[in-house]
Symmetry: D3
Subunit: 291 residues, 6 copies
């Protein structure tokens, strides 16, 4: 941007309290498959540079990603028909292999590359490495769909201690080494709790929780658990927003300082949230934080 | 096996000098795509348990793998035609994505799972993590085929220091983050040199270097560089064996104590080589080692 | 032994779960004076190599020894008459000096030498070093016979941390620096508790606890404290076995995972117990372990 | 400043390469007495916040200060007449005490306070602490005017390692504990060399080295030693600028990456230099750096 | 002194139990402004050598000083009139600056020099460094007179860990960086508590607490809190002794092992107290210590 | 001793430069068998307290001992006839066992006890522990008499690092674990070199090197190698003094700062040498030290 140097210096100076507040803190950033799918190459580069910046100013960002739309695309290319059971994708062995190929072989290395190219050191982590996401099968009718029963964050922690940005692909494993398809929001939230993160940011393709469905102006900036429960009962939080809200609440109940639903399509949304006074998206905080 | 306990105890006791010799040493094991393709599930489990054993007795094994046959299989499934230029596979962007999906999404997590299930801690490492295999393009006519120009082993070293078994997928990256298809034997050899490994074992689908082409009894157990050169000039080392021999020589010239070509189809071949007096396969040693 | 390499490899492979189970764990091995006295030079070398093997595969063995028969032998040579009070040897100043000369000057350096020669690093530790076994006098009528009131394991711990095998001579000291003759089984047990050992093995000259006095086939493989008490009340555990059983129970009550009475005359008995599925000797476990 | 959040985010993002370049590097900032004297309270706060920002983004800033005008002011208040010898202030015992009171008792705690208030941790360091600036007397006729013969930076290094910003008062000491008045520019330069600093910034009350004396537009942005020598011979560098240039050259000859003469009266001048592409002041670089 | 070498050796030998008792312990020594004012240069050198000796034999001495008489002297020189409110000095901005100049610019560097010259490594610490003494204003009518509300001893602790003797000037700071005049005895006591010191010695210009006002022979050698309270009620402890006694009691109630009021004019009084059996001054001990 | 407290304080104060000079330095003290044999119990306690004092004031003393007279005494008791070959004791297997019993079982634990009782932490070290003194046989006709070919000081160094006083018994070992009788002076000197000691003190039963055989007043206080050679050629250094002088010269040629021959019968002779200005015994210094 064409901005005068002294304006640049002033902006940097005014970021000081934000920088001091989060220095050395773990920040988990969930970059959703939908956000990815809708991002241009440039937008993904901006995201990667933002992550590199968080690292450069002393935070410890962890990127977690899924890849739903990308999985569907490869299934199509391979002529594999998706089937559903009670609204959930049935994951047979072939589907599981496709999930693994997409998450570990396509999405993960792309994000690693972008962050490395932005000047930070990134490394991919599979949810199977050193038993990161340990799972049990949810329901035989769903095939290899797993529920996380334990998180072993040592590999991620080791990378953080070495100054590396971990990029985590959300698949799980059981004791026998079988791979499982897991929900990426849930996994990100569980990892944030295990890492005692200060914040978790969910980068989605919506602006946040809206009071009126189609009115972006009705965005709710802060929510505690009882308030979120109430809104759900009142039918304000519905559909695909419900699992995201639940992941946020799981995180803050597990000790994470705050959880945010942000619009991943907005340029520099992570910087806006972490390094400026701008109010963006919806923030979930522990009940006691408002007392 | 049905073996008397006191025989077992005697065997363990007699392994003592071997255990003491390699304790704390880095051992790179290249598990070839062909060896993988011809292995039964049981054979791969045996391999994984051997690696876990090396770790359990205090060595630092590093597994490096390629995946040629598996890549071809996925190209077939996706109806992608392979093309060749001077005998080398032309790697366009789509092929590169397939390579990435197979190495990172199929072969790597399978090996990680097997080693974890054998009771060790394994973690996958991509050649793109923290710039592990830094490449330049070999020839525009070949597309994304890369030559390694630098190895940054910090991610692998970090895992070794934490007691984890690194499982390394051999793809490379350039400064812009572009992925490259690289030769797995060359990559394993370069990594062994960077890690100052004591040994590198190439697990292949042949018995070793044979003096007479079809006579397994004519296997040559030890070779120095001048001897290997001579045999190549004499037409004894030919075809697919040439690049393997060159990788072995590159390793020992780079400071690795010894390089071995072993038959990966033989059960427990790594244990035979490292923990018994049995002479198996062909060993390459530095020239000065025989003086 | 003349065993085929592939059988050797299979045996090593099958030891994997045992190796993983005890890696990094402290294992105290009490080598009794009687076992020593009845051992040939070869048998002692085998013992030393077994200890070196435990160290080589990542365990932290600690050898504790007494020297009753060797003390009696030197008293004979010096023409010193032994006297007893209520069945215990009266230890006057001259006897105490003989005890010290035998334990520290004969038995201890012999074991240190054998283990060093087997390729491990061993160092002798006197119970007087840095106040390892702090004692009070039991009964003036017995002279310098001591009861342990405190264990300071820092010297032993320091050696373990440096990868050295401590070989501990069981004599004690009081605050004034006076030496005391102490029971070696009791001392080994107290040290195992202080080191939070996983196991303590008592190598004796009997097969274990027998249900019928002369019938080796009647050996009891596992005992908890109440069962041991019952057997003692029933007159099954008698005589010299009583203090050994008490040392075992003291260890497991103090937090040691299991205590074993083993026949030190059986070759490789420590390996049989620790690295094979063979049931040898009698194992004492905490009461709660069987619930 | 009233700047849109997304502009702020863009500015932060564009600072990334600068942040990455100096992360973990030692930056010595000499804040001159003249710059101090001409600064308003607000300007000094801005300076302190800039230093806190450098620390917050991972650099290791060290502030070095003198206090000439402030010393003169206190001498006036105390009715002490200044005397000069060949242009240098004669420093008798009373003058030395005044120097000490001003540097350690007035200027130093003021800077420490301002930086602490900006959210960083600052601590004052006297040049006498742990023998930081070891001196000999220059000339008896000058009294306690010292030349630095050794720098012991351990106290400063210790603070840097603990994340603290050292604020260094430039007085020296000899072996007998006598205090000396020393040149602050020289001391800053010697400290930068001892700390192997990446950069030293001299904040003065001029714009930099000018080709034409009164023409700020004629500022020279980069100089090597031979060029500086030539300009001095040509009479372009004169008067009070000579010692500053010599301190710059001393630093880069001693291994400091670059030395800068900057106008301390410009708001955020340290940020402009370190975190933007703006060319401000004059930079001295080692001769070899331009080859 | 002219003492025979073998007598010297005997004296050193007999100091052994004292040396062993305090090795590695933190000893806070408050050197009062009055003691300083009445000390000859030689006496201060003796004090500094004693501190260096404590460090040399393994203790961790911390020197804390005030400077009341020296402050009054500078005020006189500057023609500044002192005013009082309810017996306390009103500290306006100019007075605060004088306090700062004297403590940081005169007294502190003098003590640092003397201890450095005695062969130890000393460094000055201001109560403002890294928020050492955090204050609030006591009473607006008194100006910048502060009460300590928090002690952050990390800078002092860091120096102790590096083998340096911290010399602490007792002024405080609030969150806005404003300096405060604080009571030096109170500050020393608060620092001793924060450092978990073993002892605090107050070097004053009196012999200790006397039972009869003018009779040095009536000195009380040991006091607990209830006894001190009683003596105060009985009018035995009066005037300037009251705040000193309160600082002693504050220290021992805060966990310091013992607090001593000693006559700083007696040569080597710190050595007499710490390294000989001589009973000097008055010692305050926790109530439970005498049970 | 009946010495006034203020005299005690003065003596301690005057020891300061000596304490500072040797703080943290390794000091090897060889306590000879003859010195031991002629010492009363009280004298040995004094020696032990002196060692504890060196440790308490921050030095790192290492005690090395032999036991010639004590070995002869036990041989007598056991009716073992000593035989000699060219003036050296022939050491058969039985003699070697007696040497081991005396050094490790009698002398070593006695010294360990005395030092522990003096309030330091001491631990015995055998020359066989972790291959401390590695030997070869000197001459088959002498039996197990060894010459040191390598010193592995890690066990001794480990104790020093933990604040423990090592007490070293001088016997050696070869690769097969065979024990050897070695010269204690030579061993002490070799250990001092391996530990990079600052000083080695040989406590003997003579006053030092005398210019006139029977005249203690003719003691030579300082010698360099050429001077010592000259005195030997001139017949001034003769008999049993020759090997001691050679051990001293070996030490200083190997990098030890100074070697001293002292009279171990003089009370506190180690303190006299290390902590006072008294000139006692003969000091050997490197040739270059006098330039």
């Amino acid at each position: 941007m064409n901005i005068a140097p002294r304006t640049r210096a002033a902006v940097l100076s005014e970021a000081l309290p934000h920088l001091q507040k989060f220095s050395g803190h773990v920040i988990v950033v969930k970059y959703g498959g939908n956000a990815l799918a809708e991002s241009t190459d440039d937008a993904m580069e901006v995201f990667a540079r933002d992550i590199a910046l968080l690292r450069a100013v002393g935070m410890k960002p962890v990127v977690v990603h899924g890849g739903g739309p990308q999985i569907s695309a490869l299934m199509d290319r391979l002529g594999k028909q998706a089937t559903f059971h009670e609204g959930l994708r049935v994951t047979d062995a072939e589907t599981m292999e496709i999930v693994s190929m997409v998450l570990l072989g396509t999405v993960n290395p792309m994000l690693v590359s972008l962050i490395n190219t932005a000047g930070a050191s990134a490394a991919g982590v599979s949810g199977k490495d050193v038993g990161l996401f340990q799972c049990v099968q949810r329901d035989p009718a769903l095939g290899f769909v797993g529920d996380i029963v334990n998180v072993n964050p040592v590999a991620v922690q080791g990378l953080l201690d070495d100054g590396v940005v971990p990029v985590v692909a959300t698949l799980g494993t059981d004791e026998k080494g079988q791979s499982y398809n897991i929900n990426a929001d849930t996994a990100a939230s569980a990892l944030a709790v295990a890492l005692k993160a200060t914040k978790i940011l969910f980068l989605t393709d919506v602006a946040g929780v809206l009071r009126s469905h189609d009115d972006v102006g009705s965005i709710i900036s802060t929510l505690t658990e009882p308030e979120a429960m109430e809104l759900q009962a009142a039918g304000v939080i519905t559909g695909g927003m419900i699992p995201k809200v639940e992941s946020c609440l799981h995180a803050v109940k597990g000790g994470v300082g705050a959880a945010h639903i942000l619009d991943g399509r907005v340029a520099h949304v992570t910087l806006l949230e972490l390094l400026t006074d701008a109010g963006v998206g919806t923030m979930f905080i522990p009940d006691e934080a408002i007392r």
